[in-house]
């Protein structure tokens, strides 16, 4: 098969699966899951064949979709090393999540809808990966938003998932609006939104365009201040959280930034960097006080996404006059490297938490768990590897990618370096806390006491992802086909290397030791008992954005809407609409009086008409 055919198979297989499920298999959950899994396998196999094919399989192709005068809108595929890497991540994690879902959603009543949703999500996500222009990316950007809404809302008969899905959708709309404005402005300024044509240079460089496009990433990758939807999105089924809200969709924002790096200017990158740093630190602080296993992971995802965004922003802080593309790409390398390793270990931990939740009969509170290490050995070992990877334990995936980012920060901006190191301390703290409370000690509830390991479909994906988590950090092990991205990863040398390495290991040890010492495997939060003030402050910090938005919507926006409604009632509805109707009504009232029902009287009107005509004709007036 030619590369284009292969790419179309990758893109369309999930769409065909989603269509089949939606049209014919809505009541046939078993068949639907098989179709969906087959599509995911096809994506993984064909996608890896494409990605590993090397230069022969790198191409761009496009076809005109809409032609409006001189404006043409094309759908196309741009498949370079960046897309190949993203495609591999989506393919591998996608298959793992599909297999895991077979076990996790076995008893679900709406299994067909769930797997149909997974398929439509895979299709949308692959569309973003392949998109060769920003309009096409926007179309699929909206489609992943829709799939995310559908899957968060899977248990829609409960109030919380329904509300969470709405919140996710609305928060994303806010970001997407900026994204759309950015695309329109990019087209207006440069005359094209095709990525290749933009990459050719000759662009109009303004600070506003990249920042507007960044709004899309703020929404989709849940950066400050639109991060509020991601923790709530954990109401969805856990495999969905692993696929969409940890490994792929939320990473689409980072991917999009890497796609448009040719439009970046230093000021915009500074904003992006600080947004990422603020998100990383904020989310890490919030994660410390969570008691829901998935919420901890959600805030951890936020924090790591902040890391990636910061890495992207760091990549070109010194570009003002110099070598533009090279320095930007440094950020791309570090961000994409961390995106890849994070996708593996975060998907692993989410699926691990799914396994725990499944084993504990849908208990999600870590203070009611404990002692699961012996009862769920596979989950315990793989989850431990995931935790070790995210906190940067040496020689695991997260260690390398996080070091790349820390080195970049160290070389470019010491303040950012300090803040990211602090975030790393907190990361180690809350992850070890989660790990200790969940797996060590003794069971603190009946559910935990009777926990059991799930079937092969639950453990096999964990093992696959655990292997990738261990090996994912060694760029030498990757086939030499992602060099377009991995060649850009910054590598420290000499004294810098020593400092970054020592810092990295030091902050990890500090966080882990504090967590091990501080948290007793008890039914309540040790931090809350030892320092209620700090605990309260962190909880308040967590809710500060939600409260802020509540206040804004209820007090500001709603009142403004009432005011506008008042104006509308008076002027538009009252004067213009009803005013016109009133005039017509008055005329009708007057003329109705002429209709008296006696023929003789009409003769008078006739006479009056003649007189008026005569007056008019003789030009008296």
């Amino acid at each position: 098969m030619t590369p284009v055919t292969l790419a179309l198979v990758v893109l369309l297989a999930p769409l065909v699966s989603a269509a089949l499920i939606a049209l014919f298999l809505r009541r046939r959950g078993g068949l639907a899951s098989a179709v969906s899994l087959a599509a995911a396998l096809a994506v993984a196999v064909a996608g890896l064949a494409l990605a590993l094919g090397g230069d022969a399989y790198r191409f761009t192709a496009s076809a005109v979709w809409l032609q409006l005068g001189t404006f043409s809108l094309s759908l196309g595929i741009k498949f370079d090393d960046l897309a190949a890497l993203m495609l591999s991540v989506v393919g591998i994690v996608g298959v793992c999540v599909h297999v895991f879902s077979l076990g996790y959603m076995r008893e679900d009543a709406a299994k067909a809808r769930y797997f149909g949703g997974l398929s439509i999500f895979m299709f949308s996500m692959l569309g973003i990966v392949f998109a060769d222009n920003l309009f096409m990316m926007f179309i699929f950007w909206e489609l992943v938003g829709f799939s995310s809404w559908l899957l968060i809302n899977h248990w829609h008969e409960r109030a919380a998932p329904a509300a969470a899905s709405k919140k996710a959708f609305i928060a994303n709309r806010v970001g997407d609006f900026g994204f759309l404005l950015g695309i329109v402005m990019c087209y207006w300024a440069n005359g094209t939104v095709n990525l290749d044509e933009l990459a050719a240079g000759n662009n109009v460089y303004s600070t506003l365009i990249p920042l507007l496009l960044f709004c899309g990433a703020v929404g989709k990758s849940a950066q400050l201040p639109l991060q509020v939807w991601l923790p709530d999105a954990m109401e969805g089924p856990t495999p969905v959280s692993a696929l969409i809200h940890a490994a792929t969709m939320v990473a689409a924002g980072i991917y999009m930034l890497c796609r448009i790096n040719v439009l970046m200017v230093p000021d915009a990158l500074t904003v992006i960097m600080w947004t990422g740093v603020a998100t990383a630190l904020y989310a890490a602080l919030c994660a410390i006080v969570q008691s829901d296993i998935k919420k901890v992971l959600a805030y951890s995802t936020l924090s790591q996404l902040g890391y990636m965004v910061a890495a992207f922003g760091l990549g070109s802080l010194e570009v003002a006059h110099g070598d533009h593309s090279h320095l930007v790409a440094t950020g791309v390398g570090a961000a994409m490297f961390h995106l890849t390793t994070h996708a593996f270990f975060k998907a692993l931990m989410f699926l691990g938490s799914g396994s725990v939740i499944h084993g504990c009969h849908h208990e999600q509170d870590i203070f009611k768990m404990g002692g699961l290490a012996k009862k769920m050995p596979v989950t315990f070992v793989t989850f431990t590897l995931g935790v070790a990877a995210i906190i940067g334990f040496p020689l695991l995936a997260g260690f390398f990618s996080k070091d790349a980012i820390l080195y970049l920060a160290f070389a470019k901006n010491q303040v950012v370096f300090a803040l990211l190191a602090l975030t790393a301390v907190l990361t180690a703290l809350y992850m070890v806390r989660l790990w200790k409370l969940t797996f060590l000690g003794t069971p603190r509830s009946d559910a935990a006491a009777h926990a059991h390991e799930g079937g092969l479909s639950l453990t096999a994906p964990l093992i696959v992802l655990a292997v990738l988590t261990v090996l994912g950090g060694y760029t030498g092990l990757y086939p030499n086909v992602f060099s377009g991205v991995f060649a850009l990863i910054p590598i420290a040398h000499g004294a810098d290397h020593t400092i970054v390495l020592l810092t990295s290991v030091g902050v990890m040890t500090l966080g882990a030791v504090v967590a091990l010492a501080l948290y007793a495997p008890a039914a309540s939060d040790s931090l809350r008992q030892k320092s209620p003030g700090l605990f309260g402050a962190l909880t308040a910090l967590q809710f500060s954005f939600d409260h802020g938005y509540d206040y804004y919507v209820a007090k500001v926006q709603q009142r403004f809407a009432l005011f506008l409604n008042f104006l509308e009632q008076i002027f538009l509805a009252g004067l213009i609409v009803r005013g016109l109707a009133g005039i017509v009504g008055l005329v009708g009232l007057g003329t109705r009086a002429l209709h008296v029902g006696r023929v003789n009287v009409y003769v008078y009107w006739f006479l009056a008409g003649v007189v008026i005509l005569w007056i008019y004709a003789s030009e008296i007036f």
């Binding site: 209709h595 008296v596 029902g597 006696r598 023929v599 003789n600 003769v603 008078y604």
Partner: protein
């Protein structure tokens, strides 16, 4: 022998027209109203004939021919309507022909 001048013809014509006009305004019987209408037509033809005679042209006479022809057709239709009305409603009083209003 005393010959009538144009003024007298026009005055008679105007008087006939006024009679017809007030007949239409004031009478309640459809038939009488109809006759009054005809009277107004005749009044105008009288004036036209007089003008034609005193101006020694044929213009007015030609008008009169047309008016008489149209009036004959109109009378035929109008009387037929009145007869049909009487058959249906058993009255030709205008005051009672108000079913569009009441």
């Amino acid at each position: 022998m005393m010959t009538a001048s144009l003024n007298e013809y026009v005055i008679i014509s105007a008087l006939l027209f006024m009679i017809g006009f007030f007949g239409v305004l004031l009478r309640r019987n459809t038939l009488v109203v109809f006759m009054s209408l005809e009277l107004m037509l005749i009044a105008s033809t009288l004036a036209l004939v007089a003008f034609s005679r005193f101006n020694s042209t044929m213009d007015g006479n030609i008008f009169v021919f047309f008016i008489l022809t149209v009036a004959a057709a109109e009378v035929a239709v109008g009387l037929a309507i009145i007869v049909a009305l009487y058959r249906r409603r058993r009255t030709v009083q205008l005051d009672e022909l108000n079913s569009l209003k009441h």
